[in-house]
């Protein structure tokens, strides 16, 4: 592991102008990606200054609903939207190699150098999940590795909880755990900034800041505590992995299957879902072909297809696979939870299927039976 900052560990405070300076400093050798309001939602796109950020906008989220409205003056008052950082580190489509003229040419390894601005606790945890999947071997995705090794992360501690968030119960937020270069917390019209790495400390010492006072630290802690207190959802994870694994025939799977449309939205918005399908793209004018991988979803028929048919032919087995993977078998495979409590799958499910509700239903039925 990289050592945490040895200098400049004292928290500092940035004004909006200071944040502009930070963005500019990052932009020297990186593409800065941050929150932008587009088509009624906050998405992650290139940003060049504070003026690009969704200042004064918050989101109202519930099962199957997402709406933005004006409130206050915060830069980071919104919570998580439909996009996630996986779009950049593990993009929806990745060329792997090309073949033609009797040779195979590997795709050059990705060279993008990103700085992510506004990574929430649950999102930092999701990046750690994908690190484990793609980098811990025995085989590694070199494109992900290259993008990841070059990434700079500015986290933001949440001071407002979204309507579908449950990070507290998943132990990923609202305060970001280590793994960031810099963590920001909005306090009034300013931002408390803490370095989490040497690189973060160095860049903070190069932009205009003022030392943080005890009052600043208290304000930040109060903001984070406020988000925690606001959180309306939770998953009781105690013994949950076994509970799901041991009850593949629980009637609740049929109930959820009746509602699920197999639309795959949940897997597309989930920041930890990593599955891909390999596709062959042929050129029309030559015998050259391109092999690509693209995001795949366990909610499709083709996903589990073996000659003769799909192993999981319908919504019951697919939802069961998805949820049991997130909350159960992920532990067997990667020794961690596959769900970070970001709430995206709840918000973006067109019929409002809620993973927290499904987990609670299975638990309460079994506990009612004394099981």
């Amino acid at each position: 592991m990289t050592a945490t900052a040895t200098k400049d560990v004292t928290p500092v405070v940035l004004s909006h102008a200071g944040l502009d300076a930070l963005i500019a400093a990052l932009a020297v050798d990186r593409q800065v990606i941050g929150p932008v309001r587009r088509d009624g939602a906050v998405v992650y796109e290139p940003v060049s200054s504070v003026a690009d950020l969704p200042r004064g906008w918050v989101d109202d989220q519930a099962g199957g609903t997402y709406r933005m409205r004006r409130e206050g003056d915060r830069l980071f008052g919104y919570t998580v939207g439909p996009s996630s950082w996986k779009r950049f580190l593990h993009p929806p489509k990745q060329v792997l190699w090309r073949a033609g003229d009797g040779a195979i040419t590997p795709e050059p390894i990705a060279k993008e150098r990103f700085a992510f601005l506004g990574v929430r606790g649950c999102e930092l945890a999701a990046i750690a999940v994908q690190d484990k999947v793609f980098l811990d071997g025995p085989y590694r995705d070199p494109h992900y590795a290259a993008r990841r090794a070059a990434a700079f992360i500015v986290a933001v501690n949440c001071t407002r909880a979204g309507g579908t968030c449950f990070c507290v119960s998943m132990e990923t937020g609202p305060k970001a755990a280590p793994g960031y270069d810099i963590a920001l917390t909005e306090i009034g019209g300013e931002l408390l900034a803490e370095a989490g790495s040497d690189a973060g400390g160095m860049i903070l010492s190069a932009v205009p800041t003022r030392p943080a006072t005890q009052a600043d630290l208290d304000a930040a802690a109060a903001g984070i505590a406020g988000a925690e207190a606001q959180m309306g959802r939770a998953i009781n994870t105690e013994g949950l992995a076994d509970l799901l694994t041991d009850n593949p025939d629980h009637p609740r799977w049929d109930v959820v299957a009746d509602r699920c449309l197999n639309c795959a939205n949940c897997t597309m918005v989930c920041p930890t879902c990593f599955c891909t399908t390999v596709d062959e793209v042929s050129a029309l004018d030559s015998d050259a072909t391109t092999r690509e991988s693209r995001w795949a979803s366990c909610f499709t028929t083709e996903f589990s297809y073996v000659h003769g048919g799909a192993v999981r032919p319908g919504a019951k087995s697919r939802y069961r696979q998805w949820m049991t993977h997130k909350l159960g078998s992920w532990w067997d495979q990667f020794d961690m939870s596959g769900c970070t409590g970001c709430g995206r799958c709840v918000t973006w499910c067109p019929v409002g299927i809620d993973i927290t509700e499904e987990a609670a239903a299975i638990r309460s039925d079994l506990e009612a039976e004394g099981g």
Binding site: M1, T2, L96, W97, A99, G102, A103, I104, P106, E107, I109, D131, V133, L135, P138, Y139, R140, D141, A145, A146, R148, A149, A150, F152, I153, G179, Y180, D181, G196, S197, A199, G200, T245, P248, F274, C275, T276, T277, V278, E280, D287, T289, R291, S293, A296, C298, F303, S304, Y305, V306, H307, V311, R312, G314, K316, S317, Q321, S329, D332, Q333
Partner: protein, 281 residues
Amino acid sequence: MAHPVEQMDMTDPMVPTLARILRKRVEIPGVVTFELEAPGWQGFAPGQFNMLSLFGVGEIAISVSGYDAEPDRIVHTIRDVGATSHGLSLLEEGDTMGLRGPYGVPWPVADAAGRDVVVVAGGLGLAPVRPILYHLLANRGDYGKVTLLYGARRPEEILFTEELGQWRAQLDMDIEVTVDHASPGWHGHVGVVTTLFRGADFSPDTTTAFVCGPEIMMRFAANALTDAGVAADDIYLSMERNMQCGIGLCGHCQLGPYFVCKDGPVFTWGQMRRVMTVKEL
């Protein structure tokens, strides 16, 4: 912060090498065996598979059906069942295909030394266990009683008939073949492969079993073996799932807690018993 990616090996395991077809042999209609050579090939262990690519069409996982003590020949037996396998079957000697591998957990053949060995195969499942048989025959003295129980749908679908004949002629191995549907001229067993267990001679306490075939057949065979007294952890099966990467990155091959590509394809019945009894897992 940046992920500390130590020792940046930036070769992409998804990129195949170009393998050339040295020999092609039609086994039965719809099933061909290729002998390939590929640069950098380091050999394989029985039970491992390669990802084979047909340019312009796609890639599939196929187990190696050759002999691991002949590391220069890469042997694959392919059934024409989908677009990629169909296209691969049409290739001729001298043609090339993409190859990457070998991948997966092998059959623990060497660990079975000193024990009785029962190999049970159904249909094309004889191909993935053929490396076991080669090994057993070459090291016959290291093993106790060796039995091969093989079931095919019809006599015309029996694979590797010549080799089966040669092995049978060696008389140091019990080979029983059965068909589901007899045709005129067939004088052998008729019935599913599990009916052959009745006549098989092995000491259950010291038996290692290797089973490969359709999932339902493997389940019945594993149950027959445990009924006969073979321990669940001495029974090995080779599983099949959708595989897009073969190396634990694409997620398709998941079976309960396992990735079939990297935790398998060879598993013990002890590992598989529960997951194989859950419908549509």
